[in-house]
């Protein structure tokens, strides 16, 4: 960088940092200085010296307000992958586990808390259900949020390769399928519009094991592993 032979060789080393900070070097030379910076503390100290001393020259530059959208672009660039959709937060089983949930009972309390603090929108009538298996131990919690059903399989453990299907059972009717759920993942299911208005504390939810892809008949064909009534929150 310092090819001027009229300059004392002892001074040339000092110039690399100064030229780098001043900004007169080409791209290649800049990369070289940056590579050296990583393992030459004296060079780094020189660069810091010049940045601090010459930096005040920037006061001569008039401030210019950047456009409004710049901040939102920065915000998007630094957003954690999880925050891309708020939904992904409660869909993450890790989140529920992080919440300290070891049982579906606790999950139920947590859902109530989330409704209370507004993370889950409250509707005119808040309904939820804890689904228990034959042992009586609750293993899935579900909450109605508007036209959606939030399902948290907090303690649903199954190594069964069969699909896990969720059913809505209205009084005196055949079960309606609400879709497949995944034992390892909280999820939001959409309640069919014709059923949404008919969710009352008389209705129940049930989970059955079905062939891959779900029940071929539209009705539960496998064993029901858990069920529970909707209750008002």
């Amino acid at each position: 960088m310092s090819d001027d032979d009229t300059i004392d060789p002892a001074d040339r080393g000092k110039l690399d940092a100064a030229e780098y900070v001043l900004g007169v070097l080409g791209a290649e030379e800049r990369r070289e200085v940056e590579r050296r910076l990583m393992h030459e503390p004296r060079l780094a100290a020189e660069v810091a010296f010049w940045e601090e001393r010459l930096g005040v020259l920037a006061d001569a530059v008039a401030p210019v307000a950047p456009p409004q959208h710049t901040w939102s672009q920065i915000e998007a660039a630094i957003a954690p992958p999880q925050a891309a959709r708020r939904a992904s937060l409660w869909q993450s089983l890790a989140f529920w586990r992080g919440f300290g949930i070891a049982s579906a009972t606790l999950a139920a309390a947590s859902i109530a808390a989330l409704v209370y603090i507004g993370l889950i929108p409250a509707t005119r009538e808040q309904l939820m259900a804890t689904l228990a298996g034959s042992s009586g131990q609750p293993n899935v919690v579900a909450a109605v949020t508007g036209n959606d059903l939030l399902v948290v399989p907090a303690a649903l453990l199954t190594n069964d390769p069969r699909a896990v299907e969720l059913w809505l059972i209205l009084p005196n009717q055949r079960p309606h399928s609400l879709g497949l759920i995944h034992p390892g993942q909280a999820m939001r299911l959409t309640i069919p519009p014709d059923l949404a208005g008919r969710l009352t504390p008389d209705a129940a939810l049930a989970i059955s094991l079905e062939p891959p892809g779900g029940s071929p008949t539209g009705q539960p064909t496998g064993p029901v592993i858990a069920s529970g009534r909707l209750t008002r929150l």
């Binding site: 310092s2 090819d3 001027d4 009229t6 300059i7 001074d11 000092k14 110039l15 100064a18 030229e19 900070v21 001043l22 900004g23 007169v24 070097l25 080409g26 791209a27 800049r30 810091a48 010296f49 940045e51 601090e52 001393r53 010459l54 930096g55 005040v56 020259l57 920037a58 006061d59 001569a60 530059v61 008039a62 401030p63 210019v64 307000a65 950047p66 456009p67 710049t70 901040w71 672009q73 920065i74 915000e75 660039a77 630094i78």
Partner: protein, 186 residues
Amino acid sequence: MDADAARSRELAAALVRVAGGDRAALRLVYQETSAKLFGVCLRILKDRSEAEDVLQDVYVTVWRKADSFDPGRASPITWMVAIARNRSIDRLRSRAAGGRFEPIEAADVVSDPAPAALERVELAQQQQRLARCLEELEARHATAIRAAFLDGATYEQLAARMNVPLGTMKSWIRRALLKLRACLER
């Protein structure tokens, strides 16, 4: 001066929070510094949309590297100006060789507004010292130093703009830098 010092302390504290992953703190830093840094980027790049791109990159860098900011060693604004200048200069260098020609006329460089601007504000010690040391240089050498810093121009561009041979420009700048170094250390 006191207000500047208080602002600097606040910024340093905000950067420490940014290092801890505090997005609200980054927003605060952005609100306090973005106009200044955008001015710096714009001055070097002379292109609004490129300056916007680089500014975005600067704050993402601040977000990622805030933990390397050492409040004991650098002032927050100096640290951020250095990032903004480095990013802008890198962008400038990456433009196709012989692409955009510097639209600034030599006359603009000669009548650089820096001294007037420096006089207008209550000068901090650092600024006063640099101004004094620049005054000790030959006027055109000081002009070349300011133009190099503010515009991120290479030796070649400076030589063309000030209409002197490349070797002369290198010699001016290097000698000026060594003199400045000696003066600033005094």
